[in-house]
Amino acid sequence: MSAVKIKEGVYWVGVVDWNVRSFHGHTYNTKRGTTYNSYLIVDEKIALIDSVYAPFSKELLANISEIVPLEKIDYMVVNHVEGDHSGAVPEVLKYCPKAKVIGTEKCKLGMNKNYYGSWDWQTVKTGDKISLGKNTLAFVEAPMLHWPDSMFTYIPELELLMPNDAFGQHISTSKRFDDEIDQGELMDEAAAYYANILLPFSPLVLRKIEEVVKMGIKINMIAPSHGIIWRKDPAKIINAYVKWAKNETTDKVVIAYETMWKSTELMAKTIGDGISSTGVKVVIANISEVDKTNVIKEMLDAKGYLLGSSTHGNDMLPALAGFLSFLKDMKPKGRIGAAFGSYGWAGGAAKSIESVLTAAGVEIVQPLIQCQFVPDKAELKKLFEYGVEFGNKIKKSDANCVFCKG
């Protein structure tokens, strides 16, 4: 795609990755592809904010060249060291002999450890500014949003925030702005992004938003490093982040399981029917079949988590074990849960699941439930009632919004 003007003197020069389906190795399924957004600021001095993933370097260089000759770039701002944004920096710098590289101290260390380039660096911290002429680049360190090196670049004269990964979404589209695409699709991907990447850093998200508000930063456009640019309604994504960061949940349960011969699946569905009969929403997912990124997204606003597995050896099945390990890393707060599973002789999966859920900070509110081989009629009734009991606990639970309780 060609460069797109997003504000006076500011151009999107990034690339659209239509075909990527696995991100961060295989930890994130990008079912709608993604974009790597890079922004060119043309003023008396010229700055490039972030680059793109290395295989797309040529597209980036071509987009910049449509606007200015590459050698005119004065500043290469690296908001974040991760390869999807910094990958093309070594290539860009080959053509920009006078460009100074701008980033946090940690970014500099990380860039050196990734690319081993000998570049002209100027490290920055919160409050530092660089004048480009009419416009100023102002920097705000944002550690862990998404890595220790991360920072936001802000142009006060244009009220433009370029927060790198924060407020991003993995969507490939020929459109660049929030008002040009389907809102359901947009918020769905923004939620998936938050749930799978930023959820563990929720306390920092709240603190950073508070800090930005206190600084009196005016924002009329947010240009993140993935997906579309928020120009019509930047408050929409900020408000959504506040809600997600506060771990606000609804009366909803996610039942995630892995099954060998469909017995655990029958348990999942029967418990699900019981929960559903109480009016609580249920989402059921066989973790070895469905998109795990989407399941984590569904868990973002769910108050209850039920995890189940058949016993293999004396433990849970491997896909569920991997999923639970990821869930534990996401540090969900204020959720309630329980474990279930089928077994042949000794069992062990449900117990194992229960201990991981506990370690993940999920409050176990019902003893685990197990069935040998295939549930009989009496057991099915018990499973349904188990679901009813869990559904009622969801409705009564005050797990909603742990931060709101102060």
Binding site: E141, P143, M144, F201, P203, G361
Partner: protein, 53 residues
């Protein structure tokens, strides 16, 4: 009691609140935290922390 900041992610350990999720009771001074404890935010070990105000 002194607060400590994680030099990697800027998480602040406040002894007044401790880190209940990491089994550190409120009122525990930083020096008394076991060496096996890790930063609840980014996972680095205790030696990556420094005193802060």
């Amino acid at each position: 009691m002194k607060k400590y900041i994680c030099t990697v992610c800027s998480y602040i350990y406040d002894p007044a609140t401790g880190d209940p999720d990491g089994n550190i009771a409120p009122g525990t001074p930083f020096e008394m935290i076991p060496d096996t404890w890790v930063c609840p935010q980014c996972g680095v070990t205790k030696e990556m922390f420094k005193e802060t105000i």
